[in-house]
Structures are given as C-alpha cells and as structure tokens.
Symmetry: C2
Subunit: 239 residues, 2 copies
Amino acid sequence: MSLAHNLFYVPPEKITSKEIVIDGEAFHHLKNVLRKKTGATVVISDGAGSVFTTEIISVTRSHMTTQIVDKNIVAHRRNLRCALAFVPIKGARNDYILEKGTELGLNCFFPFISERSVVQRIRHSRLQRFERVAISAMLQSQQYFLPAIQPLATSAAVADIFPQYDRVFVAHPDGHRAVDRSAGSVLLVIGPEGGFDEHEVSLFTDRGARLLSLGVHRLRSETAAIVGVTKILTAYNEL
Amino acid sequence: MSLAHNLFYVPPEKITSKEIVIDGEAFHHLKNVLRKKTGATVVISDGAGSVFTTEIISVTRSHMTTQIVDKNIVAHRRNLRCALAFVPIKGARNDYILEKGTELGLNCFFPFISERSVVQRIRHSRLQRFERVAISAMLQSQQYFLPAIQPLATSAAVADIFPQYDRVFVAHPDGHRAVDRSAGSVLLVIGPEGGFDEHEVSLFTDRGARLLSLGVHRLRSETAAIVGVTKILTAYNEL
C-alpha cells in the first residue's frame, strides 16, 4: 500500500463489497500525515481498474476501516497490451525501469536472468521493492492499473511466454528499425549491459521474436527499456 | 574530465596540436586505478568529435602529459540536431535528464525557470554536476560529442532561442500527437511538474512553437523529457 495525490492503493484481496481495511504505510500516511479522521473521504484504487470513493468509519492504532460509498470501473488507457522482459542490473537502476515502465502504462514486467547477467538472483525484498516502486508510480501518474511483476525467470522461461503476445521484439543492434504495427499485444525483451549472447538471440528468434534496433547509440539497459517502450508506443499511435 | 571504458574526456582548450595534459579525476583514475605508466596508450575525446590516440610521455604527482599519436574526426551520429529545454526539478531527477539526454545524443540542454518552477535558482556546483553527468554519459555510451549545457534562463529567454531551430515542440496535454518531420533541427521544451501556465504556453506558441502531446498518461518531468525526445527521434527515423 502506498500513496500519492490522495489516491491510495489497496490490493483487491483486501476489498470486500462494502468495506475496505487500510493498514501499513497507507494507514500511517492517512492517520499521521494527513490526519484523516472518521467521516473523511478516501479514494482507493485496487490496481485492477476499480476506483472506490470511501468514508472512514473507524480508526484503530493499526488500521482504519472505510465504507464504500461509490465504485467506478475505469478502462485501461492503453489499447495495446504491452509488457517488458528485462535483465535486472545492479543497484537502483532497476527501480527506474519499474517506475518509468509503470508511468507509461505497461501491463507486466518479467525480470529474467540472461547468460551474461551480472545479477544471478533477486532477493524477495528486492521484488517487494519493485512492487512498492510500481505502486508509487501508478499513484503518482494517476492510473488505476498496477502492472504485474513476475518472479525471476530464465531466458528459456521468457521464450515460453512469447505465445501469450501477438508480437515479441528483442532489442538488438542488428535489428530492424521499423516497428510493425499488426498486433494487439507486444512483449519487449531488453538484454543485459553486455548484450545477449548469440545462443540466446537464436533461442528468441527461433520462437518468433523480431530483432528491433534502438538506434546507433549505445544505451544503458534502463535507457533501452524506456526508449524501446516509447518507440513501440509511438509506432502504435499510443503516445 | 571523467572516464569510462578507457575513453577519457579532456576539454578542447587543454589540447594542443602535439600534446594533451591530463589532470583531475581522469589523471587520478589513469594513475591510481588503472596504474598507467609512461608508454601506455590513452584514448581521449575532446567532446567535439575528435578522438586522439595518445601515449603517456610523463607522469607527475598532479598530472600526466601524453603525446598525440593519431587523431580521428568522427561525425555526429544524429542527422537531426536535437536540443532540450527543461525546468530543473528538485533532487537527483535532473541528473537523469542530463544522463539519458546525452545517451540519446542531444546537442544542447537549456535549463530554465518557469512560472511554476519549484526551483528558482541553480547553484554553480549544480551546473558543474550536470556537466559531470553529461561527460560520464558521453563516455559510457561511447560517443565523442559532449552536449552543451547553457546557464539557467527564463521562459522568455528560451523563447528567444526558438529561431535557432527549424522546429520547436512544447510538450503539452492538448498538443498534437503527430510529430511533423520537415526539420533539420528540433528544440523540445518540457515543462515543470505542474505544467506550464497559459501565459507561458501563449508566449511559446506566439513564437512559433507547436504543442506536442506525449499521450494520455501523466508523466513526471524527467520521464516526459526522455519520452518526448524518443518520440521525436522515432518520428525522424533516428532510432
């Protein structure tokens, strides 16, 4: 649970047909920072397209309960379902991928280990951090859909996901510059800092992925992620 | 002077026809980290398209002198001359604009104060930091052109720059989605977190700027900067 601009996130499983219980960080912010009391209005997103206008009916030391006054179903702003598979890098630059990808309305993130990965494992706390970053970016950009963050996979497991998307692009310097536009869903695969090795590129192209160039400039992984997504969304008239 | 991947930056004014004197951070890295001694080769960019292969001829406590063995003139990788005017925001998010903009090959940055700017001044140390970030990004992305970083200006002063560019785009939610492509040089103007006020928008459009939409999602300033540049470069077939 996180918050920004008076929109709060509560996961769907904590929402009943009548009431929403708010605890954790959102509770702390509402109670101690915004000093909201019984009777105050709280707007809540479930990260799945529902927006609830609620009224606080009780406040305890650990949580508050709100009553649902109104519920709206919001459509996703992207016509294109767009997901990103990326190789986690060291440090805070991953957060950037999660934050900017969420701002741009991606549906799903697939972190995965590549042959040339520097990072070989992701701690549970890191995945939780990814989720906090995504929640914060969702609320900051006033969206009502929280992208899914999948557990860490292998290159082979990422290739197994390809059939779920109409089109898969793998960022690669030898790729085409044009983005073909005949798809309702797209997966973009971004490699590690040193690039994919040939074996992995073959694995991906054998499974139907197309290589997409992101220009002649050498980009950092996290730059390639946002530039690639922007290039695809631009080609699909989604930006 | 900064460094990455064994390419080093020395500003043009420190380069003579025969020798290059390296001091500061680059000197420290070469001497203490890479332990380069007399006779070793050092590759240097002047940030203006020249690449020098040099050989160390002397090392003192404060600097080293290299002899120029070979000089190459490199063409800019962008056909489009593209610059960014942006409103500095609080904290480290500015660095992101400088870093990603440099990676993407922008020629010039114009930081400026807008009506709704949170930040009203930029310390000299901050501008120096901007330059360090740009140098580092230039070397990291293996480019040989360092973008210029102009001193902090006002909105009115930014409008005075417009005639230097064939086309000026101002990121705005009411703008067109299509990027017209009849230009050899483009300036993109990105507003503060709260957006430009109407007075500023009029100031810009009266001077010939076109409003450009970056989609229905609310983007942070630094996201808008990179998404806007990527959208323009994509439209110009530069990515």
